[in-house]
């Protein structure tokens, strides 16, 4: 079983974001980057499938981006990936989902992956598009927003989210691209011995030009922080004063304290 896991490295979402000088992406300076949370579930599910198959699977962890993304690839390898692929691209921020998906498709096309996992969305751009576009480009079955995954031979039975708490069970055959929702599993922490083993694993690097031939389809003209006009009235004071103010608000707005 050949498995590809596509991951992204994103900033810590608690960061204070600023728009960069070009005005079309966030300023990446002073941000701490980590593996996209949704992708942790994707790596974990791939490793679980390998375990289920008694090790008879080969897992490639792929990420596109500048040198910093190698750290996320190594984490994926420490979680159980067999090999890393770094598609080197210093202009990641300017790529639209169409370009990213077609880059991955160009890499994956000749390699006959049985199963491709990725996160349901990235925490920064949040397009949710890359997995579904990739599936369509490769002609693979596609199931998104998965919260349950079972493989039996070459048939997958998966649980996907629909809307308003309703879920559905879907069934499809490999090859397939699936996108993972939070809660699909419990991603493992890499252990120290597994972190040490990463050094013995293969880490390939390719310039993005090897795979990227598509122009972007969408253009963002400018980015800005949301307007502050609708912002909350921020209460001031020490903890006791804050509690008093909250109590007054609760009294005014509800009947419970009257």
């Amino acid at each position: 079983m050949k498995i590809l896991v596509c991951i992204k490295q994103v900033p810590d979402m608690e960061s204070r974001f600023k728009v960069n000088a070009d005005g079309v992406w966030y300023d990446e300076r002073d941000l701490a980057f980590r593996m996209n949370e949704y992708d942790e579930y994707a790596v974990e599910q791939a490793v679980r499938i390998k375990e289920q198959l008694g090790g008879a699977a080969d897992i490639t962890i792929l990420s596109i981006g500048p040198a910093r993304v190698v750290e996320a690839i190594k984490k994926g390898m420490a979680m159980g990936g067999d090999r890393g692929v770094h598609v080197k691209d210093d202009s990641l921020a300017q790529r639209d989902p169409w370009q990213l998906a077609s880059t991955i498709a160009a890499f994956a096309r000749s390699k006959n992956f049985d199963l491709i996992f990725t996160g349901m969305q990235s925490q920064d751009r949040g397009s949710t598009q890359v997995g579904a576009i990739l599936a369509e480009l490769l002609g693979y079955a596609c199931a998104t927003t998965l919260i349950g995954f079972e493989l039996n031979g070459d048939v997958v039975t998966a649980r996907r989210e629909l809307e308003g708490g309703v879920k559905a069970i879907v069934r499809f055959r490999l090859p397939a691209v699936v996108t993972c929702q939070l809660g699909l599993n419990t991603p493992r922490y890499p252990t120290l011995p597994n972190i040490m083993k990463v050094r013995q694993k293969e880490l390939l690097a390719f310039p993005v030009a090897d795979f990227l031939t598509e122009e972007s389809l969408t253009i963002t003209e400018k980015m800005y922080l949301p307007e502050k006009k609708g912002r909350a009235r921020v209460l001031e004071g020490d903890v006791s004063q804050l509690a008093d103010q909250l109590l007054a608000i609760l009294k005014e707005k509800t009947t419970v304290l009257r």
Binding site: E14, I133, V166, M223, G230, L247, I249, V256
Partner: protein
């Protein structure tokens, strides 16, 4: 190419989803700019009854057994056929798990540009979308020739997309829908809980900031003192610290309490869209840039672990005294 705006109506088991009306409202705004018509696209089987209150110039209805339940394969093929034939200026989908799927597949299928997470259109026709969990807005011209859009709720009211006047419905033959790769086997209903948070007037909501399962008791104590009910955002429920019936958000319930007290919740779009019906939102969070402060009426930039126990004590005092 024409200047019409297509809206892919989302419905689940006999009910039109609110996002469909929101899209129709957005489509009218956009159509004023392009000078085209608003056409609602209704895919399914036996769905004529759903067309009645759609605010559209025309409803294009495609009926086929393969469209009875949602699978992206069948929906992509059906929408692709209509898009190629009519070449509308834009096709709107809900930014829902279903809409995102179909829009992405269609984008690849036809090589058309797709802009996700659009919140509204400016009067000049530019899109305004959001990234980084709502912390940054992105703006641009509607891409050509046909722009695929996924729309998030919040920019328009569902009522703006409803009409008392039933629209004209035109039946369109379905394209060949064979070779489908994914089948839908079964729906799973939402878990029924001990309380229905959608009906509760006072909700104490906890998010990632609560950090551990043991700390949930801080919210429990406050809720008990106030006579409110505890609910949560996704990370807390994913950890199993509270049951799914207490999940507020896109994948859980939409709520409309008198007071929504958000403790350690950042207010990512998936959560924010489900609490906008609240009368008053009060937020406690250490991150001053958290998007929750954009929708809250009152906020304190304080550590919840300092503030919540003191608040609970004061509530008890106020009630006991």
């Amino acid at each position: 190419m024409n200047q019409d705006i297509f809206v892919i109506i989302e419905h689940l088991r006999g009910q039109v989803a609110d996002i469909s009306y929101v899209m129709l409202a957005a489509a009218h705004e956009l159509a004023q700019n392009t000078g085209g018509k608003v056409e609602a696209v209704l895919l399914g089987q036996n769905v004529q009854g759903l067309a009645g209150n759609l605010a559209a110039d025309q409803v294009l209805s495609v009926e086929h057994p393969a469209l009875a339940d949602f699978t992206s394969d069948a929906y992509i093929k059906a929408v692709a056929g209509l898009t190629v034939e009519h070449q509308p200026r834009a096709v709107l989908f809900g930014h829902t798990s279903v809409g995102m799927d179909v829009a992405s597949g269609l984008s690849a299928h036809l090589g058309l540009p797709l802009v996700g997470s659009v919140r509204y259109f400016e009067s000049g026709g530019k899109f305004v979308s959001q990234i980084c969990g709502g912390k940054i807005m992105a703006e641009g011209e509607l891409p050509a020739p046909t722009a695929l859009i996924t729309l998030v709720p919040g920019g328009y009211k569902p009522e703006q997309g409803q009409s008392a006047q039933p629209p004209q419905v035109t039946q369109v033959a379905a394209p060949a829908l064979d070779g489908l790769r994914v089948t839908l086997k079964q729906y799973i209903e939402p878990e029924a809980g001990d309380v229905d948070i959608a009906k509760e007037p006072l909700l104490i909501a906890v998010g990632r900031g609560i950090q551990t399962q043991d700390n949930i008791s801080l919210a429990d104590d406050l809720a008990q003192a106030l006579g409110g009910v505890v609910c949560a955002s996704r990370p807390v429920v994913d950890q199993g610290w509270l049951p799914t019936s207490r999940l507020v958000g896109k994948s859980g319930k939409a709520v409309k309490p008198k007071v929504y007290l958000a403790i350690g919740i950042s207010g990512a779009p998936e959560h924010a869209e489900a609490i906008t019906g609240s009368n008053v939102i009060v937020a406690i969070n250490t991150d001053a840039a958290a998007p929750i402060f954009n929708i809250a009426k009152y906020g304190t930039i304080t550590d919840l672990f300092d503030l919540v126990p003191v608040l609970t004590d004061k509530v008890r005092e106020a009630k006991g005294g």
